[in-house]
């Protein structure tokens, strides 16, 4: 199935510059419908209010971390199938395992490049 390039993408990070970087890189990949949240709680509220096709989230945020957000999403019947990519500086094996067990769709470690972002998006959404 063709990827809907107009899908709404939610990017979640407590660093504004990272949100800006992600938005710009997604725009370069022709994903122009992007919304932002600065922590998991704000993200969850937005996910429950509107229809999103993808979440790209940082891990280390307060008051709700990325993995807590992921667990909430997977526990919610209306959200549980939402593609969710974790993008984080947390690189230890236990982090990746925990994210996988929580149901993450893919995992990008910071710093990352545009090619990696595209590859992971393709693996989660399909070719575009």
């Amino acid at each position: 199935m063709a990827v809907d390039m107009n899908m709404k993408v939610l990017i979640v990070d407590d660093y504004k510059t990272m949100l800006r970087i992600l938005r710009n890189l997604l725009r370069q990949l022709n994903f122009n419908n992007v919304d932002e949240a600065s922590d998991g709680a704000e993200a969850l509220a937005k996910l429950r209010e509107d229809k999103f096709g993808l979440v790209i989230s940082d891990w280390n945020m307060e008051p709700m971390t990325g993995i807590q957000l992921l667990r909430e999403v997977r526990a919610d019947d209306t959200l549980k199938h939402l593609p969710f990519i974790m993008i984080t500086a947390e690189s230890k094996s236990e982090n990746v395992i925990a994210a996988k067990e929580a149901g993450v769709s893919n995992y990008i470690v910071k710093p990352f490049n545009a090619e990696t972002l595209k590859t992971k998006l393709v693996s989660v959404l399909g070719e575009f």
Partner: protein, 208 residues
């Protein structure tokens, strides 16, 4: 006890009478005093002396100065780093976005080259996120140190105050003192602490 001994024997006691004096003193102690008790008392006295010396050493470290000056300075400087790098990164991205906005006006080959370049800039800008997170870890470590120092201040506050009274900070007459080259190495100043370029220009002009 000593007053009574002085009353009956005066200020001087013969060596031979010392034993009797000690016995008199021991007799005033309640209960039986064994050799083990005396050893225990001696150990406790040593421990008390050790604790007193340790408290003085800790007071001499001036944990109040560590907390109020050095830790505060470190924390302020780290905050300034995060802010400065965020501002610089945003300025870089402002310019990069401007380039992207005009890319459609150039031929496709140039467009592709510019796209690669702007992508590389966005990738590189993510350094600010990483440095910010590392600095947050350092700030947390400093916070932990500050809490430990607070614990020391609570435990040894009296000792520290006593030390400060006995060893007041030396106030240097800054007008008379010659500034050394090493003292001139202060590094970048926090917002509002250094001179702006305009102020420096005015200062230089004042020499003319």
């Amino acid at each position: 006890m000593l007053a009574k001994i002085r009353e009956t024997r005066g200020d001087r006691v013969d060596v031979g009478d010392v034993g009797e004096v000690v016995q008199s003193m021991l007799a005033t102690l309640q209960g039986d005093i064994s050799a083990a008790d005396i050893e225990l008392y001696s150990e406790l006295q040593s421990l008390s002396d050790y604790i007193r010396a340790a408290k003085l050493e800790i007071a001499m470290l001036r944990p109040d100065t560590v907390k109020d000056e050095h830790l505060r300075t470190a924390s302020d400087e780290l905050d300034a780093i995060v802010q400065a790098t965020a501002e610089a990164t945003n300025a870089i991205m402002d310019s990069t976005e401007q380039i992207e906005n005009v890319m459609s006006e150039v031929d496709p080959d140039v467009q592709a080259a510019l796209m690669n370049a702007t992508t590389g800039i966005y990738e590189a800008c993510s350094f600010q996120d990483i440095t910010g997170q590392r600095i947050t870890k350092v700030v947390k470590a400093l916070k932990h140190i500050e809490e430990t120092v607070d614990g020391l201040l609570n435990a040894f506050g009296d000792e520290i105050e006593r030390y400060k009274l006995e060893n007041p900070d030396v106030v240097v007459d800054e007008t008379a003192k010659e500034i050394t080259d090493e003292e001139l190495l202060q590094g970048p100043q926090l917002e509002g602490k250094g001179n702006s370029q305009e102020e420096i220009d005015k200062l230089l002009a004042s020499f003319d």
